[in-house]
């Protein structure tokens, strides 16, 4: 029971303060569950993100399902999904009912901009930590850079790139790393 509460609390806070895309919350989850709480190994975390990424739907929700199952099976899934969707849901409901009479001050914009800078730094930090796990294997860096070039420069859609690597993994039998 204590574990469920802890899981719920952690996910709820992560979800409530995560502005921006799905990778921001994934980076925060990595910090919390791998580095601070040590409930998941770095390698497993990458696998879980790959699962979250290759399924349809919001990455944040998918990642919380995969992580919830890993930590506490079906109970963990229920905990994590509720904790992930409740904050945006409740905030949206409040905005909806309050939109008639609340006007945010213009300086509020600067708060968001500042947090955006923090998020940039967070992602750089997470990428740096994750590439350490490559163990200086050239193979891993080649796939990583190829993924950046394909999705970032040539705009190939992400599921197609992942499918390509899955096929490579199935077909290339030689141990490359």
């Amino acid at each position: 029971m204590k574990k469920y509460l802890e899981l719920f609390k952690t996910m709820f806070v992560l979800s409530a303060f995560t502005f921006g895309g799905g990778y921001v919350i994934v980076s925060l989850m990595q910090k919390e569950f791998v580095e601070k709480k040590k409930w998941i190994s770095e390698e497993e975390m990458l696998d879980l993100i790959a699962i979250a990424q290759s399924a349809p739907g919001p990455i944040a929700v998918n990642a919380s399902i995969a992580i919830g199952y890993k930590i506490a099976k079906v109970g963990g899934i229920i905990c994590c999904v509720l904790a992930t969707i409740l904050p945006p849901f409740l905030i949206m409901v409040v905005i909806w009912y309050a939109s008639q009479w609340i006007h945010l001050p213009a300086s509020f914009d600067q708060l968001m901009k500042g947090m955006e800078i923090g998020v940039c730094a967070l992602i750089v930090n997470v990428v740096y930590d994750m590439q350490k796990k490559f163990d200086k294997k050239v193979f891993a860096y080649i796939i990583c850079v190829a993924t950046i070039v394909l999705t970032g420069i040539f705009n190939v859609s992400i599921p197609i790139v992942l499918l390509l690597w899955i096929l490579c993994g199935l077909l290339v039998r030689k141990k490359l790393c």
Binding site: G20, V24, L46, I85, Q131, V145, P159
Partner: protein
């Protein structure tokens, strides 16, 4: 209500790639075909989604659900939107735990792990570039960026506190200096 659930179920199951992938689906399904929200409401929705925490798909489902069917509509649309994810990811997670010792799965994952790092790097770059370009004081941006990067790497402060701190510092600086 059933249409509401079904529409967001479809959006949930078709939005591969997360985040912005669902926006064109919402545009064509809900704005153009069903006329549940207008084009200007749609652009408001995108702005609100960016300013509030949580996945855009969830923000959008709640927003449209509230508009169409009040509070219960919001609940139904949100559940419809995440329902496909819950099914598919649960199945994948169970398979992963059962078969993570298999060699073929291990080979695939060897290819996928570095790819995931690459994807996160791209997400980072696509956030950093507009952020620094849209900022009036690039030097201050770099200072704040380096400061928070240092905190993430060298201190044990919780990441959320670092984010809130950069927000507050920037807000105070904008009032005091700029």
């Amino acid at each position: 209500m059933l249409t509401l659930f079904w529409t967001f179920f479809k959006i949930g199951i078709m939005s591969f790639g997360g985040g912005y992938a669902c926006l064109p689906l919402i545009q064509s399904n809900i704005v153009q075909d069903l006329h549940w929200i207008s084009a200007s409401e749609f652009s408001n929705l995108v702005t609100i989604s960016q300013m509030t925490p949580g996945p855009i798909a969830i923000n959008a489902a709640t927003f449209v659900g509230l508009k169409v069917g009040g509070f219960s509509g919001g609940v139904i649309a949100t559940i419809g939107c995440i329902f496909p994810s819950c099914l598919i990811v649960t199945i994948l997670a169970v398979l992963y735990h059962k078969y993570s010792t298999l060699h073929w799965l291990d080979r695939i994952l060897n290819w996928l792990r570095p790819a995931v790092v690459g994807l996160i790097a791209v997400a980072g770059i696509t956030m950093i570039l507009p952020s620094i370009q849209g900022y009036e004081h690039p030097l201050w941006w770099i200072l704040l960026f380096s400061g928070s990067l240092f905190c993430f790497m060298k201190t044990k402060i919780g990441p959320i506190w670092i984010l809130i701190a950069t927000g507050v510092i920037n807000w105070l600086a904008s009032i005091l200096f700029f």
